[in-house]
């Protein structure tokens, strides 16, 4: 660990063990129907009663099924992060910049004061901020400064993705990314979404970064599959958000060109998730099962043959692909079926799967490569069994709640025994 890191940790005011209280500052509260909320739900379950209060800056279009109702909470509305532009080109960018500036100086400052006041009243000794989107990035430092307490940050994804998706103008992006860097640098500790992110951010921002990866109760895990369900069928599962559109499209096109067959097996795709958009003028073999809770999702996935996880090949998303970690991978590995990863070699899930030899990897967008990798997996029973076994092992070693609990304790600078 660099000496600078040590000094920062030592200088930071610490309150001993059990008496420590945290203000959770987040845009999604602990809940059971959003991925981020599910992770927070698990993390909050580790904390002793009374040690946390929650200030949520919620996008009012979302309807989270809140858990942990015992937590002292306040919810305020999040300012719009996707601002419509009424003018084209630079004029539109200027409009976006001015609107962002106003939000920053007026709305976010007001929310920061509210959050700080709430945090002080709750007696919080530190701010635990989930840094996602421009509002939370701006709030992180402001609230910690107003409360004069240490800042602990948690990052799901690099901020560039959010800013791009919300079409934030480039001038505002620069300022927001500077705020992000400042929040990271000032953080006493950082909970990263992947091992790669922890390593990268520790090097970039000089703060102690601990990987706190979306994990699951080991009791939910299924035994690894020893063979495919049938000799004439290949069932492929996809659960969760569908963010890699080009990759998904190529998967479906592969099946279309191959008449929905891989080798001698008929292909069936089952999708679990909040939404799915499809169109085709040829026969398709896709079944949409809608959103299911985690236990049910794992149950459904464990009855399929192969589980599909895609990440972006587009170099525009290189940072996200390298640093993020999809929570669906945890679910897949818990389901005990081999993962078929479709994305670039530098992607963090690809590295994880390669390291543990726990998935079939397809590093090419070409449909012939997708076909060949799937055929290799479907036609080799030894490989199939080995990948399922290794995947299950990787899950139990790295992605269960006990590992998450240990890392979370380190993130909050608590002893493991201080957690539930």
């Amino acid at each position: 660990m660099p000496s600078e890191l040590k000094e920062k940790t030592l200088d930071a005011p610490e309150v001993k063990g059990k008496s420590k209280k945290f203000l959770l500052l987040t845009d999604i509260p602990p809940c059971r129907n959003f991925t981020a909320g599910l992770v927070l739900d698990q993390l909050c379950s580790f904390l002793p009663e009374g040690s946390i209060s929650c200030f949520t800056v919620l996008n009012r279009e979302l309807d989270p099924e809140v858990t942990h109702k015992e937590i002292n909470s306040v919810t305020v509305s999040k300012p719009k992060e996707h601002k419509p532009r009424h003018f084209p080109g630079r004029l539109g960018a200027l409009e976006s910049f001015l609107a962002e500036k106003y939000t920053d100086k007026v709305t976010v400052s007001r929310i920061a004061r509210q959050a700080a006041e709430f945090g002080k009243k709750s007696g919080a000794d530190a701010v635990w901020c989930v840094v996602q989107g421009q509002t939370m990035i701006r709030l992180a430092n402001q609230v910690a400064d107003l409360m004069n307490v240490p800042l602990l940050t948690q990052v799901w994804d690099p901020p560039t993705w959010w800013l791009r998706a919300n079409k934030v103008d480039s001038w505002s992006q620069k300022l927001i990314l500077a705020d992000f860097a400042s929040a990271m640098s000032k953080s006493q500790r950082l909970a990263a979404a992947s091992w790669a992110m922890a390593e990268n951010y520790e090097r970039l921002y000089g703060c102690r970064a601990i990987p706190v990866i979306p994990s699951l109760d080991a009791a939910l895990a299924k035994a690894p599959a020893t063979k495919m369900n049938r000799d004439d069928e290949l069932t492929i599962g996809m659960a969760g958000q569908l963010y890699s559109a080009a990759e998904w499209e190529n998967l479906l096109l592969t099946f279309k060109h191959a008449n929905w067959k891989i080798g001698n097996r008929h292909v069936k795709v089952k999708v679990l998730g909040r939404n799915l958009s499809l169109s085709s003028n040829t026969p398709m073999n896709v079944e949409y099962l809608g959103w299911r809770n985690q236990a049910e999702t794992i149950e459904v996935l464990s009855q399929l043959d192969v589980l599909y996880c895609a990440y972006w090949f587009d170099p525009v998303f290189k940072e996200e692909a390298s640093l993020s970690f999809p929570s669906k991978l945890t679910t897949y590995l818990a389901a005990g079926r081999p993962v078929f990863f479709h994305g670039p070699e530098y992607a963090s899930p690809a590295k994880f799967l390669k390291q543990h030899n726990a998935g079939a990897l397809c590093h090419d967008l070409a449909r012939s490569s997708i076909y060949n990798e799937l055929e290799k997996l479907a036609s080799n029973p030894d490989l199939y069994k080995q990948l399922a076994e290794n995947g299950s092992k990787a899950f139990h070693e790295h992605l269960t709640l006990s590992t998450m609990r240990k890392n979370f304790a380190e993130f909050l600078s608590l002893r493991s025994e201080d957690l539930k």
Partner: protein, 418 residues
């Protein structure tokens, strides 16, 4: 001891290193010449290769490209080589060898100045230098009489309006003011150049391209197949998948469509991907893209049982001789440089440019393993005897010497490279 200094000029270094001047530059250096390669875009790490492009010039190039396209001009407005006389590498060179200069960075307008300053050699990689706009005129013969009334403006490089007569005249004017030794890699190109009024001012030399036949050589086909995940018993057909006007992709696709044969086949496609999706499940498709690493490329060639190169226009056919050197028979179309370059019927099968002819030749070689092996062995011998890179460099050396001699800039015997 002073050594002759040769400067190669081209579009890039790594992609097409075997014919774009990069390998030649390295060989010349190994033979004791002072050699340098000036390229528009450098992707490799050779210390004696210098990139012309800067961030600013790359932006300007895009603008000029648009202007040229809109005004129906080609390779006339780019200013990037006008500073050559100020460049150390150009100043120090005894001779300059131009390669691919028509890819959008070089102005032909600079040729008279540059070729009068230094003895110059220009390798023509296709007939563009002899036509009003196209890379291949196919059946059109208007390039012999000044172009104009162009039958196909969409062929590479396309024009919006027929400005071919003007462009032809501009080339003639500029060539007349230039002094260049022209290199043509095939007799087919040589014949064309001899018939071209534009080339009348130049000395023409037939020097085939070369490859390192110790690297491009036969190997363990079965092991290479296994490495690529090709099942035992599959017959592997190598080919270049490129959807341009003259690589014959359409013929290849149709041939596979019509191929009615009970043999498991693997299509091993180089270059572009996605052209064989319709055959997924019917044939094994392996698309390797454009392989930079020569050793990997050679391994994939070794995995092939035969190679298809049914170009409808081809000035040389580098991939055909690469596969020949690896002991693989090729199938090519008549009417291009390929039958001559492959020494068909000894090193390849040359057929009329028709789908049924292609299918029939494919069937013959797919079914008859002995015929494949015999033709492949002969192809290997032909490649070694005619296309070894050392032969190519020997021939180039002799040409350089002659050009330097004639210009009075030749080094004395004592000063020749060792």
């Amino acid at each position: 001891m002073t050594q002759s200094s040769i400067l190669q000029v081209g579009s890039t270094d790594e992609e097409g290193a075997r014919f774009n001047g990069q390998d030649l530059h390295k060989q010349l250096k190994a033979r004791g010449y002072q050699s340098h390669h000036l390229v528009w875009l450098k992707t490799g790490n050779d210390p004696d290769t210098t990139q012309i492009q800067t961030e600013k010039s790359a932006r300007l190039q895009q603008k000029i490209r648009r202007i040229e396209y809109n005004s129906n001009l080609q390779s006339l407005l780019y200013p990037f080589v006008l500073d050559f006389p100020m460049r150390r590498q150009f100043q120090q060179a005894d001779l300059v060898h131009y390669h691919l200069i028509h890819t959008g960075y070089f102005s032909l307008g600079a040729l008279p100045m540059l070729t009068r300053m230094k003895p110059s050699v220009w390798t023509l990689h296709d007939p563009w230098a002899m036509t009003g706009h196209c890379v291949h005129p196919f059946a059109c013969e208007r390039w012999k009489i000044g172009c104009g009334a162009c039958p196909d403006l969409n062929i590479l490089f396309p024009l919006q309006k027929d400005n071919t007569a003007f462009l032809w005249k501009v080339k003639k004017h500029l060539y007349q003011a230039s002094r260049i030794d022209i290199v043509l890699a095939s007799k087919w190109m040589m014949k064309m150049a001899e018939e071209s009024p534009l080339m009348s001012n130049f000395r023409l030399h037939h020097i085939p391209f070369g490859i390192d036949t110790t690297i491009f050589c036969p190997g363990d086909t079965e092991a290479c197949k296994e490495k690529l995940g090709i099942p035992k018993g599959n017959v592997v057909v190598g080919l270049r998948a490129n959807a341009n006007d003259f690589k014959g992709l359409d013929y290849i696709q149709k041939a596979f469509d019509h191929l009615d044969i009970d043999i498991p086949i693997t299509i091993l496609a180089y270059n572009q991907k996605g052209h064989f999706d319709k055959f997924l499940g019917r044939y094994q498709i392996i698309e390797v893209g454009w392989l930079k690493e020569t050793s990997i490329f050679v391994e994939t060639l070794r995995a092939c049982d035969l190679f298809l190169m049914p170009s409808t226009a081809e000035s040389f056919g580098m991939m055909a001789i690469e596969s020949m050197a690896c002991g693989k028979p090729s199938i090519v179309f008549e009417g291009t440089a390929l039958p001559e370059v492959t020494f068909a019927p000894n090193g390849a099968l040359a057929v009329a440019p028709r789908v049924d002819e292609l299918v029939s030749a494919m069937k013959h070689l797919l079914v008859d393993a002995r015929a494949r092996q015999a033709l492949g062995a002969e192809a290997r011998n032909i490649a070694v005897q005619n296309y070894d890179f050392s032969l190519h460099v020997d021939r180039m050396e002799r040409l350089y010497e002659k050009a330097l001699n004639d210009s009075g800039k030749v080094k004395s015997a004592a000063q020749k490279p060792v």
